[in-house]
């Protein structure tokens, strides 16, 4: 039970590297949040948007193909 708990802790710390110390969330947490906000004010630390090709696939799979399927299904 305890070993399982330790493994879960380790996994969790791998998932979120910033949670490297077991401290109460405040006030260190507030400082950490400020650090993250400062870090993410740099555009390169933001995630990437859909590319034009991704949007094309999204519209194709999410709208065009279903529309064609519905028309086809009506005549079956």
């Amino acid at each position: 039970m305890f070993e399982g708990g330790k493994n879960m802790t380790d996994h969790t710390n791998v998932e979120i590297p910033s949670a490297s110390v077991h401290l109460p969330i405040n006030p260190e947490g507030s400082q950490r949040l400020e650090d993250i906000l400062a870090e993410m004010s740099d555009e390169k630390n933001l995630g990437d948007d859909f590319s034009k090709r991704d949007y094309f696939y999204l519209v194709l799979v999410g709208l065009i193909i279903p529309f064609i399927l519905m028309i086809w299904g009506w005549f079956l």
Binding site: M8, T9, E15, L46, G73, L76
Partner: protein, 475 residues
């Protein structure tokens, strides 16, 4: 001491789950997300969805309408949630503060909580019933004990879910990949067994159980059931897709891992209902497949339902932690208990009453989520030009751009109400009576578009001129 460290670590992680996640800390690959998405997307609630489509459509039209409906529903969910969550590394509740206001985002938390508690009830009750059905079919259990065994099985499944949640996001992801593979394989096996037992011709010649006589109305209703059901993936999305670094990596896991499986697994319910009169395959697991098959099918239900329940409870737990009182006064384990307790009570005491309310629950999802999604897409793409201010999102004083009026963006709520009434006008979620125009335009899609248009106009007319919402920064 170690237990305390685990609790602190999870609390730290959960607290940070409401914070933005920088790109360099996102550790999930596209396949990792696909595993989690499949684990959530493949669940036994789809049987009931397929079963209700069987009221209106035969197998051919039902298959088409369901596949099309789940893809269209997922298109709107993905457009509303993926770009903003991945760009800024935030989950849905945090993102909703820029729309509903800091205090108004309680509404999004409520929607998330209500829908996931509802879905989890369905999952856990179906699992409990499956256990008792298989035990009765094998002769181990007398039918007089069915209610008790159903309740106990449901509570055991919930206990497993609760224990699993103690591990935080890592345990969710690590278990999801294995579960999703097993679940997909077993789903294929169940479908094969169904088709090989009753015969493909019997399935495809069976008549719908409660056709209205109007072919187009039935076709649209079948389509609408899937669109509305898939829109309820909205609360699940942000918390998991933000773990990948680019939107492109979330495209296929979202569409093919969460959206499409809802339609595909629903086919089991559709075919089963048409061929046997009952959407729930647990009714014939043992009868047609023997004890061995019954146990395998039961394992499928256990993995599928508990896996989905865990993902749902995890994201809802994170959502609830955004309420200050809950964050300060409860531990992570207590928060997940708040999510799972109503499910336990409903599963134990009123399971049949809940199952009888499923059609209304499905319609409630469309009523609730379609307007929210319409407002969110309009806000992010048309009004904010795909930019929000993280600093303002985490600025809790009255000077924040997202404070609006007393912490609430009234315009967002008015727009959602317009969408609610548009939906109810088109399709009554209680009686399932529809307006004459419903069969041409469905209900969720027009409600989404109408609430989006309303939000756009009201924001342009009132919010931006009054310098609320931080829109002027992007003009």
């Amino acid at each position: 001491m170690k237990i305390k460290n685990v609790e602190l670590s999870i609390s730290q992680e959960v607290a940070q789950s409401s914070w933005p996640l920088p790109k360099n800390q996102r550790t999930w690959s596209s396949w990792g997300l696909m595993g989690v998405a499949l684990s959530a997307g493949v669940a036994a609630w789809s049987y009931s969805i397929g079963g209700y489509v069987a009221y209106y459509l035969n197998a051919t039209m039902g298959t088409i309408a369901m596949i099309a409906g789940c893809l269209v529903g997922m298109f709107f969910v993905a457009l509303a949630t993926v770009p903003v969550s991945i760009k800024y590394g935030i989950e849905n509740i945090a993102a909703s503060k820029s729309i509903f206001g800091e205090k108004g985002s309680i509404f999004a938390i409520f929607l998330q909580y209500a829908s996931i508690v509802g879905w989890n009830c369905l999952l856990i009750i179906l699992f409990g019933k499956a256990v008792s059905e298989v035990l009765i079919a094998t002769g181990i259990l007398q039918s007089s004990s069915q209610h008790l065994v159903t309740a106990v099985s449901s509570l055991v499944a919930l206990a497993i879910s609760w224990i699993s949640l103690r591990g935080g996001s890592a345990s969710v992801k690590n278990s999801s990949l294995i579960i999703s593979i097993l679940v997909a394989l077993t789903g294929i096996l169940i479908m094969y067994k169904l088709i090989s037992t009753v015969g493909i011709s019997k399935i495809f010649t069976a008549k719908p159980q409660a056709s209205s006589g109007d072919r187009l109305l039935d076709y649209t209703t079948g389509f609408e059931i899937l669109v509305a059901s898939v829109l309820s993936w909205w609360p699940y999305m942000g918390g998991i897709v933000r773990m990948v670094p680019s939107s492109g990596k979330a495209l296929w896991p979202t569409m093919l891992g969460m959206g499409l499986p809802t339609g595909v697994i629903s086919l089991i319910g559709l075919f089963s209902a048409l061929a046997t009169g009952n959407y729930d395959p647990t009714k014939w697991f043992v009868e047609v497949g023997g004890i061995g098959f019954g146990i395998i099918a039961l394992l499928f239900l256990a993995l599928a339902n508990i896996g989905t329940a865990i993902v749902g409870a995890y994201t809802t737990g994170i959502g609830l932690r955004q309420i200050k009182w809950i964050e300060r006064k409860t531990t992570w384990n207590q928060t997940t208990l708040i999510v799972l307790l109503p499910v336990a009570l409903i599963s134990a005491f009123i399971p049949d009453q809940f199952l009888n309310s499923i059609p209304s629950f499905l319609a409630f999802l469309g009523v609730a989520f379609a307007p929210v999604i319409g407002v969110q897409i309009t806000d992010y793409f048309l009004l904010r030009k795909q930019r929000i201010s993280l600093d303002q999102l985490y600025n809790h004083d009255k000077q924040s751009d997202y404070h609006f009026w007393g912490g609430v963006n009234v315009v967002a709520f008015i727009s959602c109400i317009v969408g609610f009434f548009a939906y109810i006008y088109l399709l009554d979620p209680i009686s399932y009576e529809s307006a004459s125009i419903f069969k041409y335009i469905s209900a969720s899609i027009p409600a989404t578009i109408l609430s989006g248009i309303c939000y756009y106009l009201l924001t342009k007319i009132f919010v931006i001129p009054m310098k609320k919402g931080g829109y002027v920064n992007w003009e």
